[in-house]
């Protein structure tokens, strides 16, 4: 089967002007707030979050699902919002970095990153924190290897990861109600 036949049968090619006229409605709850917007079907979830909702804490680092700077929690699962369309999030419940602190209190993972110097430039940090929160939700007592494995979808170029590993360990202790310093 030639590529062109397959393409012709499977896809309809739109000109960009037509795409823009085909807006869809999405309803997404982000950090507990319900939103409804008309968006282009091709609008990436990360652009919806950043540009439509104005929540710029979620960053874009690679556009290929490698770096994880855009990680958010969608219906309980960490996802890379740069490789998902906003329309795919229709009806979903999304938590971004801005939704992590509650009532003025930092999330334990945020506390851990601050305490252990788990960030330098801060660009990967929101995604790291979202991924780390997911790791701890699945495994409250991860080993160093568990943490490193769990963070494989998130790149950091500044810290060399060691302080990030310690930040997640620190957060694990906080979430178990132990002394954060491990004393």
């Amino acid at each position: 089967m030639s590529g062109s036949v397959w393409l012709d049968q499977s896809f309809t090619v739109f000109k960009s002007s037509e795409v823009t006229s085909m807006k869809r409605t999405v309803s997404v709850t982000v950090n507990g707030v319900a939103h409804q917007n008309e968006v282009e079907p091709r609008l990436l979830l990360v652009h919806y979050i950043r540009d439509v909702l104005g929540l710029t804490g979620t960053h874009i680092g690679c556009e290929t699902s490698i770096c994880g700077a855009c990680t958010v929690i969608l219906d309980g699962q960490s996802v890379k919002s740069c490789t998902m369309f906003a329309v795919q999030a229709d009806g979903a419940n999304v938590t971004t970095i801005e939704g992590m602190a509650a009532n003025g209190d930092l999330h334990p993972v945020q506390e851990g990153f601050w305490e252990q110097h788990g960030l330098q430039c801060g660009y990967c940090t929101p995604g790291m924190i979202m991924a780390a929160a997911q790791i701890l939700e699945r495994n409250p007592d991860p080993t160093e290897a568990d943490i490193r494995h769990g963070l494989e979808g998130n790149l950091c170029r500044c810290t060399g990861y060691q302080h990030i590993v310690e930040a997640v360990q620190n957060a694990a202790r906080r979430m178990k109600g132990e002394s954060a310093t491990g004393d």
């Binding site: 960009s16 002007s17 823009t20 282009e40 091709r42 609008l43 950043r50 104005g54 929540l55 710029t56 804490g57 979620t58 960053h59 874009i60 680092g61 690679c62 556009e63 290929t64 490698i66 770096c67 700077a69 971004t96 970095i97 801005e98 992590m100 602190a101 930092l106 945020q110 990153f113 601050w114 305490e115 110097h117 960030l119 330098q120 430039c121 801060g122 660009y123 990967c124 940090t125 929101p126 924190i129 160093e144 290897a145 943490i147 490193r148 494995h149 963070l151 494989e152 998130n154 790149l155 950091c156 170029r157 500044c158 810290t159 060399g160 990861y161 060691q162 302080h163 990030i164 590993v165």
Partner: protein
């Protein structure tokens, strides 16, 4: 012990960053912003016969399309600060006109009301290319064909010989001369935030504001003002939150000039945010040297001389510091050894690739790799322990300042001290015993040692293209809050915290009462920026000096308020008080019938009095601020020892770093947690260079490693636990004794990793391996002998 300085203080930057509340360029939203997308060359070398933008211009939501012809003569060229004799600087226009010389070379810019529309319209531009022969390999390029620039007649940007001593005699008289070809592969910096520019021009005020992700806001302002023909005092450059740089943002880029110019043309804010693919193609690369080592040594391991003939890959254009990078290699070839004669011969070469420039370490990792590999080659040749070769050639601590044959004076050092500490931490003797046992069991185990020195605190102005000083203003506001304006431009290093620590201790105020402002040329006095491990050693010293000036001024006013002579006023923990003797004498001075002067006054009260100015001594300048421009007398030379133990899987060639021990000496430490963070990050970038990273162009100049799926920066699970410690040898170059640490990891680490792998494979006859050392290469070596 100081309350803040030297302590592990949590960063004041972090609360905004961990909540996603920081503002990087793309987080700044201005109404009516237009968005730019670039069409970039898909060929490494081609003539542009024609460009047709008509369809793109009429695409939905497109506002304008610009090509090289549209901007020719209207925007100055991309600047290069090189000043080497005979240097050829190609004219790097912000958009190519008829000649593209690397994949990613910008050809046209589309401006649209949203970024999707801009990107769509890029595909509607028709370019008729005539492909030209491509030259990719640096040694091929040096031979002269094909030519990147016909008009030059060759591909040589410059040649340079540096070093001192009689190298011919040194090599001729040596018991042994060892030779080795060495490749320092091209690397891609990959700051997690790519570049980004937002420009806004107010035609009434004639003010241009440029938010750009840069390490050098003031230098960028000067250069952009020149490029755009706008008075420098009408240009405001703001480096907002900057998501990493590693040298890649120590530059002035075509896109910064062009996006600003477009904003001036259209009268609206204009934004361009670099995609990762663009970042990999068109933001500067690092390293890229192919060299030939000749090292002479005597039978006892004494190094007699070192020659390094190197082909340095410039890429197609010279960015800001491109030609300067190999000169830094030349300066540091002596490593931490006494070498009587050193010579470097540089052939700097144009190729059809992106420009190289400063990537973390910038020429010094190459030097360390050269001299440390040379030391290992000597050890292997003479059957000596690599530690003994190093120790044999160290200068003693009392030989500092130590003059090298590369023309430097190392400020201070105790190389033996750092080595001994690292050997102790690693239990080196046991490592070697374990290695012997492991080999008997058929396992492939190796140990590598690197003793490095680096050149930091760049630098004295005489040794830099323009201005090696740094500036700081410290002022106390009427409410007692302390503001520091620093010319440094931190972007992750944490100087909002460490500079605040300095001020809090010196002024006796709470850390949270200090704010550090940087990266805004309309707020901060002229500064140089953050690179070359200079932030704290030069910028921090300027803060320290300004604090001393500020205290002098405050003391003068406090004395007046206390009715005492300044010489009798003591300052401690935020309060000025008259010393006991003066207090006993009464101390109401010439206040006459007024109430007796207080015995002490807080610095906040002094600050208020300085602004209210009702009660100031004659001739006292109201306000309370002080500025220092600190010009360092020398570079600083941090050093250390890294020890690595690896085990290699015979079946797969997989390299497992089992131990990583590092002892670094960066002089006086302001915040040990931040220093550890810098060392960790640098070592991991070195692990990337040693094992994973390489910018690969194919023979047609296509960038094969064009995304993060192909260019392998280390992930968390690829990194071992790093065991760190420090020695602390103060620098005499600045009053705090700070040396700098930003690049230590990338300079000191690769030779230890490579050395360990070569050591592991030495039973297979291996004496040297070039980076990145991949499992496949290792497997081939092992299987060839199996």
């Amino acid at each position: 012990m100081a309350k803040y300085v030297g302590q592990r203080i949590k960063r004041t930057e972090d609360p905004r960053l961990i909540q996603g509340l920081g503002h990087y360029v793309d987080d700044i939203k201005l109404p009516d912003t237009l968005h730019v997308a670039f069409l970039r060359s898909m060929y490494a070398h081609a003539r542009i016969k024609s460009i047709d933008t008509s369809e793109a211009s009429h695409a939905p939501r497109v506002v304008a399309v610009y090509t090289g012809a549209d901007v020719a003569g209207k925007i100055g060229s991309v600047p290069c600060a090189g000043a080497l004799p005979g240097l050829k600087i190609p004219n790097y226009t912000v958009l190519a006109t008829d000649h593209v010389t690397f994949v990613g070379h910008p050809i046209a810019a589309v401006v649209a009301t949203d970024k999707y529309a801009a990107r769509d319209a890029i595909d509607l531009i028709m370019v008729d290319y005539e492909e030209l022969p491509v030259v990719v390999d640096v040694e091929e390029a040096a031979k002269g064909a094909p030519l990147v620039y016909e008009e030059y007649g060759d591909n040589i940007a410059y040649t340079l010989t540096s070093g001192e001593g009689d190298i011919e005699a040194a090599l001729a008289g040596a018991d042994h001369v060892l030779k080795q070809r060495i490749v320092h592969q091209r690397l891609i910096p990959i700051a997690m935030e790519g570049r980004g520019v937002l420009a806004r021009y107010y035609p009434g005020e004639k003010e241009l504001t440029i938010w750009t992700s840069t390490q050098i806001p003031h230098l960028a302002r000067t250069q952009l003002a020149i490029m755009l023909g706008v008075p420098e005092n009408k240009v405001r450059v703001i480096a907002p939150e900057v998501g990493g740089g590693f040298g890649s943002k120590l530059n002035v880029y075509a896109e910064e000039g062009l996006v600003s110019w477009i904003s001036m043309q259209l009268g609206k804010p204009v934004k361009w945010i670099e995609g990762r693919r663009e970042n990999i193609q068109a933001t500067i690369h690092g390293r890229g040297q192919v060299g030939y080592i000749e090292v002479g040594c005597n039978n006892d391991g004494t190094i007699t001389g070192l020659r390094y003939n190197v082909f340095a890959d410039m890429g197609a254009y010279l960015q800001l510091l491109t030609p300067a990078i190999p000169t830094l290699t030349g300066l540091m070839l002596s490593g931490c050894y006494k070498i009587p004669a050193i010579q470097m011969n540089v052939t700097a070469v144009f190729t059809n690739k992106m420009s190289t420039d400063a990537y973390r370490g910038a020429g010094r990792p190459e030097a360390t790799q050269v001299i440390e590999r040379a030391a290992d080659l000597i050890a292997a040749h003479l059957g000596m322990d690599p530690v003994d070769v190093r120790r044999k050639n160290f200068p003693e601590p009392d030989e500092f300042p130590f003059k090298t044959a590369t023309g430097l004076f190392y400020d201070s050092g105790n190389y033996q001290g750092a080595l001994d500490k690292a050997l102790g931490m690693a239990d080196y003797k046991k490592m070697r015993e374990d290695q012997k046992k492991a080999r008997e069991q058929g396992r492939v185990v190796g140990v590598g040692v690197s003793t490095y020195v680096e050149i930091c605190a760049i630098g004295p102005s005489q040794a830099t293209p323009a201005g090696g000083w740094e500036s700081a203003t410290v002022r106390i506001e009427p409410t007692g809050k302390v503001t520091i304006l620093t010319g440094a431009s931190p972007h992750g290093q944490g100087q909002e915290t460490s500079f605040a620590q300095l001020a809090a201790d010196e002024l006796g105020v709470d850390l949270n009462d200090v704010t550090v402002i940087h990266g805004d040329t309309s707020i901060v006095q002229y500064g140089i920026g953050t690179f070359g491990s200079r932030g704290t050693a030069v910028g921090g010293t300027a803060v320290f000096n300004a604090l001393q000036k500020l205290k002098e001024k405050a003391t003068e006013l406090a004395a007046h308020l206390l009715g005492a002579d300044a010489s009798s006023v003591a300052f401690k923990e935020g309060r000025f008080s008259v010393e006991a003797a003066m207090a006993a004498a009464g101390g109401n001075g010439d206040a006459g019938t007024e109430a007796p002067a207080p015995k002490s006054v807080s610095i906040q009260e002094v600050a208020l009095a300085a602004h209210v100015a009702h009660q100031i001594p004659p001739g006292f300048e109201p306000g309370l601020s002080a500025t220092n421009f600190f010009e360092p007398a020398n570079f600083t030379f941090p050093f250390g020892t890294h020890i690595v133990q690896v085990e290699i899987d015979r079946e797969t060639g997989q390299i497992d770093i089992q131990r990583y021990v590092a002892v670094d000496d960066c002089g006086k430490v302001l915040n040990p947690m931040l220093v550890d963070g810098q060392v960790h990050g640098g070592i991991v970038q070195s692990i990337g260079q040693a094992l994973y990273e390489e910018a690969v162009y194919d023979d047609q100049g296509q960038l094969v490693t064009g995304t993060l799926m192909d260019y392998a920066i280390p992930k968390a699970a690829m990194i071992p636990w790093l065991e760190l410690d420090r020695t602390e040898t103060p620098s005499p170059v600045n009053p705090m004794g700070v040396k700098g640490v930003g690049e230590a990891g990338t300079i000191g680490a690769t030779p230890a990793i490579v050395g360990a792998i070569v050591d592991a494979l030495s039973p297979f006859g291996v004496r040297h391996l070039d980076m990145p050392i991949k499992p496949e290469n290792v497997w081939r070596i092992i299987s060839a002998q199996a």
